[in-house]
Symmetry: C2
Subunit: 344 residues, 2 copies
DNA sequence: AATCCTAGCGGAAAGGCTTTCCGTCGTTGC
DNA sequence: GCAACGACGGAAAGCCTTTCCGCTAGGATT
């Protein structure tokens, strides 16, 4: 137990020797296998391992097995965005299943994602989950598809958490419907003059949410002038700035729909920094946890990210199917203080 | 470029064959080495790799080299706590240096941390960073120290982001001083009746912050009755509940210091949910990003987590020293709306 | 008692990469 | 024109684990 720290890690052969068995038996005893090991030997191996402070060399294990255990998640974008609910969901879903977890961050440029997938390929994990919306003008899609194809051909299982449409198992969430429902809800509350704070032009997530919202308004008999749809970066600070641009134009607006909660918070904070936030209603999308602590509490589309992540892992561990499967998780509108009923 | 997806990943030998060189040369060309490779060969190898869609098998590389490139971060606690600034800091510091990053989550029990370190050992990464405070009554410290000793003896570099005191390179942040400064600042603003919302009993972070705060009050001639220090779990929801307990006791309190921002948000939200938030001042600690979007904006102790993470990596990549080094990062109080000057 | 199974074990190969050690070849210096 | 040297390529020996396959011993079966 207290031997002087070795200058190289104990390896399986050391354990085997100390336990008086072969490396093969030690391997079976330590890291499981269908083959049986006599109880007495199993115990001796475990004790030997403990006394040597042995830990399996995961890299060697991965080489021998041809694949590393666990889930690798690729996330687009910045790490300090506290409002990344997908990551949190995947992490905890992975934990629940007792799978090792690795996070790889990709840059925000489309090509970065391809690069990240290839980095993942070099790790050879069993499961690869990619989170984050696509863009319509993404010229790297063919390259991405090819990289993922290769990954799957090599025996990995890829699942996308994003819009449907790529030839891989996908968990999507109902962006369009969420936007639609939000629109009808807000209209039902009495709002009439809307603006949408949206993300950069070609992002499919923001496009779908925006289109759904516009469609919902239309069905409620409200038309949204094109100049009321603001386009900027897909984050809080951009939303903050866009709100300023909007209000400086002095247009009549009584409700702003931001295509995600982070952006809604930017809108809310801008309104607060410059006047009474109650004057203009604000709604978001995602229902991130941070919403609990802001005032007014924010109306949003609730999405169960836990469920999204769970379905993703379920797809990943289920037997491979011949054609890609898609699961869609639906959200529902939660009305809170930021959109009080309009009294007229 | 467009060969049908292979059923097994291309390996180095395939690249070498296609390029018409040996595996040794291909290795040198692709993954660097002190040895030179003739330019013409280098180019041919790179082209061959590209056309085969080759990615280095990182596991095999790690086996051969005896160590895996990159940084592994061990974090204690829940993933969905959006207010974990250390993780964000380490992730982006790691990105900046172009190092591969892996995240391992440990449970909240002390023994989980030891287990996590051993899991890391089995990955054999160059650098291990552990984030998260210790507890005074942690009986697993010897086991933790032994696991880390082994890791370092095996050639790894461990850095702790936590309180000083363990025999490893450490980046600490000035908890006591921050608490002290916060106390004198609040006293200077005119507050007299304080309460502290603190985390579970034996956590050193919360203890130091609390003790510093008490000391600061004492130096300002204010005594804090013991029953004004509330102990609960170290998170927002517990703080929310504790605030209720406190106010139900109907004690005179005009300012509450929460030992971190997450908890301060819980306090703030409780106050808001049940009355006028302005009645009691609230201060936190950490200056997490989410603060920007709450009202009233929160007085807190700003800590540069980027700097903390940066110093940690700097320690990790610098030559090993014979005795453990400690760097302390200091914070400073930022007064915001949640603690307006007292008018008397 | 003779035969057949089966569980358990060990030797050895495989898995993909790095790195050392030589050998070769072209270049430099005199 | 020759010797010495430096640069580079390749064969092969690792690195550590898993897994295939063959073998033994002991129990079950008849």
């Amino acid at each position: 137990m207290k031997d002087p720290a070795p200058s190289r890690p104990a390896r399986l052969a050391d354990v085997a020797r100390l336990a008086g068995v072969s490396a093969a038996t030690a391997s079976r005893a330590l890291n499981g296998s269908d083959r049986g090991v006599r109880e007495a030997n199993r115990v001796r191996v475990l004790e030997a391992a403990k006394s040597l402070g042995y830990t399996t060399n995961i890299a060697a294990q991965a080489v021998a097995r041809g694949r590393a255990r666990g889930v690798t998640l690729v996330v687009k974008g910045m790490p300090d965005d506290y409002a990344n609910p997908i990551t949190a969901g995947v992490v905890s879903a992975t934990q629940r299943r007792g799978l090792p977890f690795t996070l790889i961050l990709a840059g925000t440029a489309p090509a970065d994602l391809v690069e990240a997938v290839n980095l993942v390929r070099s790790h050879r994990p069993e499961i690869l989950v990619i989170a984050g919306g696509r863009a319509t003008d993404d010229v790297t899609i063919p390259a991405l598809v090819e990289a993922l194809r290769r990954y799957e051909a090599e025996g990995g299982r890829a699942v996308l958490i994003t819009q449907e449409g790529l030839p891989f198992d996908t968990v999507a969430y109902a962006n369009r419907k969420g936007g639609y429902d939000m629109a009808t809800t807000l209209a039902g509350l009495g709002y009439r003059n809307f603006a949408v704070v949206s993300g950069f032009k070609h992002g499919i997530t923001q496009r779908d949410r925006t289109e759904g919202f516009v469609a919902g308004l239309a069905d409620a008999g409200i038309e949204l002038p094109a100049d009321r749809i603001l386009i900027g970066d897909f984050n809080r600070d951009a939303a903050y700035a866009m709100t300023g641009d909007l209000l400086r134009r002095n247009v009549a607006v009584d409700a702003i729909f931001a295509v995600n909660d982070s952006m809604a918070l930017g809108v809310l904070t801008f309104l607060r920094d410059t006047g009474d936030p109650r004057r203009v209603a604000v709604a978001g999308f995602d229902d991130i946890k941070a919403l609990r602590d802001v005032t007014p509490s924010l109306t949003t589309v609730h999405l169960s990210w836990e469920q999204v992540a769970d379905e993703a892992l379920e797809l990943a561990v289920s037997p491979r199917s011949d054609s890609p499967r898609t699961r869609v998780v639906e959200g529902h509108v939660i009305v809170r203080e930021s959109t009080p009923p309009v009294v007229s």
